[in-house]
Amino acid sequence: MKSVSLLLALGLGAAVIAAASCGGNPPPQTPTPAIDTAAENQRVRDSIAAAEAERARQAQAEAERIAAQRRADSLAALARAGEEVRTTLAAMIHFDLDKSNIRADDMGVLDQKVAILQANPELKIRIGGHCDERGSDEYNLALGNRRAQSAKQYLVSHGIDASRIETQSWGEERPLVDGHDENAWSQNRRDEFEVTSGGDNIRRP
């Protein structure tokens, strides 16, 4: 009876020890089966191919975008050139109070117009003379006429045919700036230039 209990005790003790040693040393990992490795390699290859295709597509799109942009840019550049010419042509000149002589700082503005008119022989323009509100309403019609004629004379004396230039006077009837101070007045004493015909394909001088 005593030996059975000892054996049991030993057996329990061994079991306990065995159990303890199993937890402390896990079994080594089994190697990956051969079929799994091949699939993974295929997946990687596919992914690389897809990426390369995507890159190609992107490169193509980018190339197209750049090409389109170039076309747009060159069109815009053309338009900008025309717009610049138009802006230069429309640039106003200004006058001193009750005066109609061309100011020295405005001669360059008129010289640019001369160049544009020479580069575009079909171009015709109209010059409108304007005054500030301080003078007499009716006298300002005569003064505005003088101002328009001054600019026309300048262009004609620099070689532009007089028949290409119309003039008109608005007196003080069309102020550019509302206001009753020198800032407004000095902006309103002006000649405006507008294209009346031949402005569709305007060229740089």
Binding site: S136, D137, E138, Y139, L141
Partner: protein, 476 residues
Amino acid sequence: MTRRTVGRSEGRTVIVTAFLVSLLSFGPTVRQSDCQDTSAIDRGVRIGIIYRPGVRPGLVMLPRTGMGLDSIRTIVARDLDYSDRFEVITLPGGDSIRLATPSAAPRGTGTRRSGSGTTATGGAQSRTLNYPLYQALGADFALDITAAGDTTVATLHDIAAAGIRRTVRVKLPRPGDPDFRQAVHRLADQAVQAALGTPGIAATRILFVKDGKVYQIDQDGADQKLVSSTDRQAMSPAWGADGRHFAYMEFQAGKGWLYLQEMATGKRTAVSTTGSALDFTPAFSPDGQTLAFSRATEEGTDLYTINVKNNCCLRRLTVGRFSDNLSPTFSPDGQRIAFVSTRPGLPQIYVMAADGTDQQLFAPFDYGVTGSSNAPEWSPDGQSVAFHRDVAGTLQVFVLDVRTRTVRQLTSVGRNEDPTWAPDSRHLAFVSDRSGYRQLWIIDLDTGRIRPLLQQSGARLPAWSPRLTEAPSTTP
């Protein structure tokens, strides 16, 4: 009750008040001799200032109520006031004081009453006033407006002569009728004519420009009306001498076009030869045959005339070359044209014969000192030319005496420009910003009295009509 007395002269008001106090105290016992003698006033409240009638006769509108006459009386009273030819005396309290009772007639005024008054009216219309009483009030005239059926009767009493000066009967359009106010204005003018032998200016209108459109307005500020018929920008309206049409300039396709327009129908026609350049500042000759105007070309601005009756005979009057010539205005005899020329460097007022000869300076100026002068208009009596001149950076209205060729400055407050004569040659309408914004004002040169014509901003370039004589049927 006498506190409500409104006199145009403070002195007169005081005396009227004082006199009414004494009158009411004495009541019917007041005698003719007392009233005629100014010492009677001294018996009442003694006032240190004795009113002198001065240059303007006193006129009293007799109080009447009902009968639809209120608006007529109001318009006439204002016209008489605006004529600046009378001291218009307003009676206190209306009928309650019974100043105008016919029953007062038998009170010892018999001998005077039978004089000029009855002969002037054939006796039948004789309506007797207590003339001495009105004389004591300072009145030289009394105007009584009554109705007899559909006829309006205006009776002008001559207080000093103690009789009726004139009776006018007129069938007025109904109030609200487009012609009503002008008909009433003509009635007021007849009263002025009867009293002073000079026609009034009540039946006149003023054309002006606002926001690029031409408008008309009665001289008393009523009945403003758009007369422009297009949306294009217009300037410089100018009356024909008959008052039935006007000329003006309109911007069109970069040019200045001149048009003639009938006042009654609004029908307009372009002046022949216009449309090729900037034509502006039209002015009719007094006979209505010729239109003078300015034309701006490459050579500058010059004056032209054209026969608008036959649409012919364009004629150039000035050759400026390096100067501008503009803003013509005919003398009333049609022989001369005053205008603006920049030949001295700045615009100044010049004159020439109507055919362009004999051009010479008209309004003197100091070279290098006097500012620009513009917008001349010859007065209907031929004696003056009104214009505006730059003084210290702003514009002021001046008048040139044609005979002596001297100028005097009329205005000094604010900016004042573009004067235009009333047909009486003593009133001017002009543009002024004295109230803070530009609007039309009227000044009486004799008294210096100034009144606003409009209460709107932006009105400019006024043109005062001649007397508008669509005469109603009247029985003097």
